[in-house]
Symmetry: C2
Subunit: 277 residues, 2 copies
């Protein structure tokens, strides 16, 4: 289903590349162009047919009807500001950043047709080589409209993500950052800390328990430093809550309090089972 | 390859049931008997052909050549003591507990042919219904001999686990408990705490990051309270180290110290990638 004439994807990594593949596969746009700092990424994206044309120069976005900012969170605002003088007045712009408050606040000012998106479909893998056309199928995509968002723009972006196979939900940028700090940013901070704390001498005994618990610690540092720093308040709050729970378990172990320990673990188990994954 | 005439498995859950299935499949013993507190478990184990005969009465272990204590850690010592007056003098006894120091110390005194085992092949699932005959294939099994262990007994137990498909390694009970607290008990304590700390209101946004990181939090509380309480010293030490790593990441976020944060995350990522799972 054709929704756009030309789509430009800035940052053709795991997310940007997967968007390109999905657009081509589902014929959502006539033409997909990709922008990357690296020539090699552009060539890979073209040979994987994720984009029709690629450039290292941002000015190629000029004639696009939809522009997707899919670079790491730390560079999205800067790129958004740079393209603001280039894009057509009616062009719709969105991003795929994992934090929304700062990005939406800054880019709404310079891009009148901007809506923030966060497709919850990442993985610890990165790069165009891991991109998949079905990455968004059945996944959730959070859109973060504000009082300044134009209804038709929001609807078009909703149709776009739906066409890619995602279920769409709406949250304010603030609520998004609060919720996502608990279910995504906190687990990442924990996984990074956990693997750092395990002595190398004991790793030969590591089994699926450790490897599953720390899988997301192999996520790229360039991506995650930006996320941690652009949602620091919420993450620090989530870490406080985590430290509280950990203290309860620790204290029950120290006191050899079987009963309390059992109650805590049972509650944890029931909550985890309710996740159904 | 027949190694024993009769094997008795006390506790026919995930681990005990899987041992039974593997013994039968690989014809390691002529006869496998199972002991469980629950009639239903015995019936399930018989109908799944994990055991030939089952009883709720411990005294049936009498004529067995190998006895495997596969109940939760908290009851292994008590059961070991109870069977000490029943077993043949030449019978070999082992257990499958996740902590070894306390168990080995107590049971060596009452069972002269005892060697501790810890097959690293569990999962968050439990019960005979989840037992699998190939559970130990390619997994690691730690044996924990001491100065009191008889060489032929140790060799026989080694041959037994090898016949079940496991790779066998040796550690002192103390070293086992120290190492395993880092790679298994710590991740469990973290996973339980993490899921407890996530507000229910945010769970609708949960994706694979949270579900993988907390998968082992759905492990049974009956099993894990015992493990935490019989290896408390090592677990508390591991928790201290974890808290130290977490503080480094937290402090870098608070100080908005991009450089330190990037170095920490890069180090975590490299260590996780070295796990290769």
């Amino acid at each position: 289903m054709r929704l756009f004439n030309q789509v430009a994807i800035i940052g053709v990594g795991l997310i940007g590349g997967s968007i390109g593949l999905a657009i081509k596969k589902r014929r959502i746009a006539k033409r997909v162009i990709g922008i990357s700092r690296r020539k090699k990424t552009i060539n890979n994206a073209i040979s994987r047919r994720a984009i029709d044309y690629g450039s290292q120069d941002l000015s190629v976005v000029r004639d696009s009807d939809l522009i997707i900012l899919a670079s790491p969170v730390g560079s999205i605002i800067q790129i958004g500001i740079r393209i603001s003088s280039l894009v057509k007045p009616e062009a719709i712009i969105t991003d795929t950043g994992s934090t929304k408050k700062i990005i939406v606040k800054e880019l709404e000012n310079v891009l009148p047709n901007f809506v923030g998106s966060h497709p919850l479909a990442g993985s610890e893998k990165q790069g165009i080589d891991n991109a998949r056309g079905d990455l968004f199928c059945g996944s959730l995509c959070v859109l973060t409209p504000t009082v300044n968002t134009k209804k038709p723009v929001l609807n078009k972006i909703k149709r776009f993500w739906t066409a890619l196979g995602a279920r769409v939900t709406y949250l304010s940028p603030q609520r998004h950052d609060e919720f996502i700090s608990c279910v995504s940013h906190l687990p990442h901070a924990i996984a990074f800390s956990l693997i750092l704390s395990v002595p190398r001498s004991s790793l030969f005994l590591a089994s699926t328990g450790l490897s599953d618990t720390t899988r997301i610690a192999s996520s790229p540092e360039e991506v995650w430093k930006d996320i941690f720093l652009t949602n620091s308040k919420n993450i620090l709050k989530a870490l406080e809550r985590f430290t509280g729970s950990l203290s309860c378990i620790k204290s029950a172990i120290m006191r050899k309090d079987t009963r309390s320990l059992e109650i805590l673990l049972r509650r944890a188990r029931a909550k985890r089972l309710s996740l159904k994954r």
